[in-house]
């Protein structure tokens, strides 16, 4: 700081690895996360689905350690930041009709918009993070189902109920093939 030119000073403290984790067993499907996201970014980046057994739950980006969406994207629109949030650069996205990123995501966390920039995805509220604020969906969830936690802490937060609820969502996003 004293030199005034040291712009590459190492970050203080341990690396921030926080990401979203939704405990689907606590979610009541009220759509508040989607609403708040839509209000801030016009195209929601967390989107409600109705599963085959009629439960309303939000799909969201897990900001994976090895993101499939990023691997499949041929335009270099998807990158990770220092917190390992997977970011979309709308300038590079040319809305390829293969929709590789959408199809590549095993969690259904990349969304087609149908207008403007072809896809939308969560950036963990990058502009809010810069100010030290939490992602808006975390702040407004009425039930406290959406957490903003260190990645390593997620396995410890899972319960039998949350795993069962998660399985209902994955069954919907990636239906298991019928045995014939």
């Amino acid at each position: 700081m004293t030199s005034g030119i040291n712009e590459t000073a190492p970050a203080q403290g341990p690396k921030d690895t926080r990401t979203l984790y939704i405990d689907y067993s606590k979610c009541i499907g009220c759509e508040t996360c989607e609403a708040v996201c839509k209000f801030l970014y016009a195209q929601p980046r967390i989107v409600m689905v109705r599963t085959v057994d009629g439960q309303m739950l939000p799909l969201y980006c897990r900001h994976c350690d090895h993101p499939h969406c990023m691997k499949t994207c041929r335009t270099g629109s998807l990158t990770v930041d220092e917190q390992h949030a997977v970011l979309l650069n709308p300038m590079f996205c040319r809305g390829c009709q293969t929709k590789s990123c959408i199809l590549g995501c095993p969690y259904g966390g990349v969304f087609a918009t149908g207008e403007g920039v072809a896809v939308s995805k969560c950036d963990l509220c990058a502009s809010r993070r810069k100010k030290g604020d939490l992602p808006a969906c975390v702040e407004m969830c009425p039930t406290g189902a959406i957490l903003y936690v260190e990645r390593e802490a997620i396995p410890g937060l899972e319960t039998d109920e949350s795993r069962a609820a998660e399985a209902r969502v994955t069954d919907f996003v990636r239906p298991r093939k019928e045995k014939s």
Binding site: G29, C30, A35, R50, G54, M56, L157
Partner: protein
């Protein structure tokens, strides 16, 4: 690590913006009212929120069971608005017109009645976020028998009784046979609450099948797991009884009739909006989107948002409506301050943004 301890209605800014010197009144402190309150307070507005109930939160606190939404989470969000954003809450205050009090659930909590005209003098603008509190009726014989409740009449006292109002009593269901009509989320909450309160049996009657049920098949299966009886494809024809309800006569798809014995019947078939002065405000036009200004009523400086406009929806939709109306209200006050209201482009504002 655990969840954030509160619902942060002022999520837009972690500290309020510099005071803009404007004062806004919000009528109704449910999801839409609190979202609008948070947005405006974060942007430096002085906000005063009025609610008929003893606590802000609306149906998030007084309707939805605490097993789904922890009331403390809402209360801490409200406290944050009060302490960090200077919001003033006037609880037990009903904003009234000609209609008498004690008309809908929760009115008996109100000590104070304030007229809309007074409120308009007190504030630069007001927003009506009063929600939908009137239960839809089935319109069948025997609906006024003792022991027949609407979902709100049934659920509201369970939560409200904690505030020790002498006018509130929890519906007596212990050891009784309860029949719930409908298959929305209210019906599910009624069924679970009745079980918890010690009902002898709980049956859910629905005119279509579990696949069509608004609450979804998953919730139906949960109810059955909890010991409720799911009776689908049964259309209620009339409620039987002299003074107290004794049963429900239903029609089956093959045209035959069946009588279900019941001591308590709860109709959970939705609510209708209860706006104060709907006609004067021209709400029908606002609903149709025929407006001079997004979410503004026929009266200048009076805005409307949430379920009172759209009919019963979900917390998220109410929050979205409240946020958009709050933004519209702020834009309106800005343009009006410069006497440039005519520059407002309603068509551009109606586009999703």
């Amino acid at each position: 690590m655990s969840a954030e301890p509160r619902m942060n209605f002022a999520f837009l800014r972690s500290t309020p913006a510099a005071a803009v010197g404007r004062n806004v009144g919000i009528i109704g402190a449910g999801p839409s009212g609190l979202a609008a309150t948070g947005y405006l307070a974060a942007n430096g507005y002085q906000v005063e929120a009025y609610d008929k109930l003893p606590r802000p939160g609306g149906l998030m606190v007084f309707g939805i069971p605490s097993s789904r939404i922890a009331p403390d989470r809402i209360q801490r969000g409200v406290t944050m608005l009060e302490r960090q954003y200077g919001v003033l809450f006037h609880t037990r205050t009903k904003i009234c017109c000609s209609a008498p009090l004690h008309e809908e659930e929760g009115d008996h909590f109100s000590y104070d009645m304030v007229g809309l005209a007074d409120l308009l003098e007190r504030h630069d603008a007001i927003m009506i976020c009063t929600g939908s509190w009137k239960s839809r009726k089935l319109g069948v014989e025997g609906e006024s028998l003792r022991g027949v409740y609407s979902s709100l009449e049934f659920l509201f006292p369970i939560r409200a009784v904690r505030y020790a109002s002498p006018n509130v009593t929890v519906p007596p269901v212990e050891g009784k046979r309860v029949v719930v009509v409908g298959a929305g989320h209210s019906a599910v909450d009624v069924a679970h609450s009745a079980k918890q309160l010690g009902a002898q049996s709980v049956s859910i009657v629905y005119r279509r099948t579990a696949t069509e049920a608004p609450c979804g098949r998953y919730e139906v299966e949960r109810m059955v797991e909890c010991g409720c009886t799911w009776l689908e494809q049964r259309n209620p024809l009339r409620f039987l009884g002299e003074v107290d309800v004794q049963g429900v006569e239903v029609a089956l798809p093959d045209g035959t009739h069946e009588v279900l014995p019941a001591d308590v019947v709860v109709t959970a078939i939705g609510e209708v909006p209860t706006p104060p002065f709907a006609k004067e405000l021209g709400l029908e036009n606002v609903r149709k989107g025929d407006v001079r200004w997004l979410n503004m009523t026929a009266l200048d400086n009076v805005f409307v948002a949430g379920d009172v406009l759209t009919g019963p929806s979900k917390i998220g939709q109410a929050v979205y409506s409240g946020l958009r109306a709050a933004r519209s209200l702020a834009n309106w006050l800005d343009l009006r301050a410069q006497n440039r209201q005519h520059e407002y482009d309603a068509a551009a504002d109606l586009v999703k943004r």
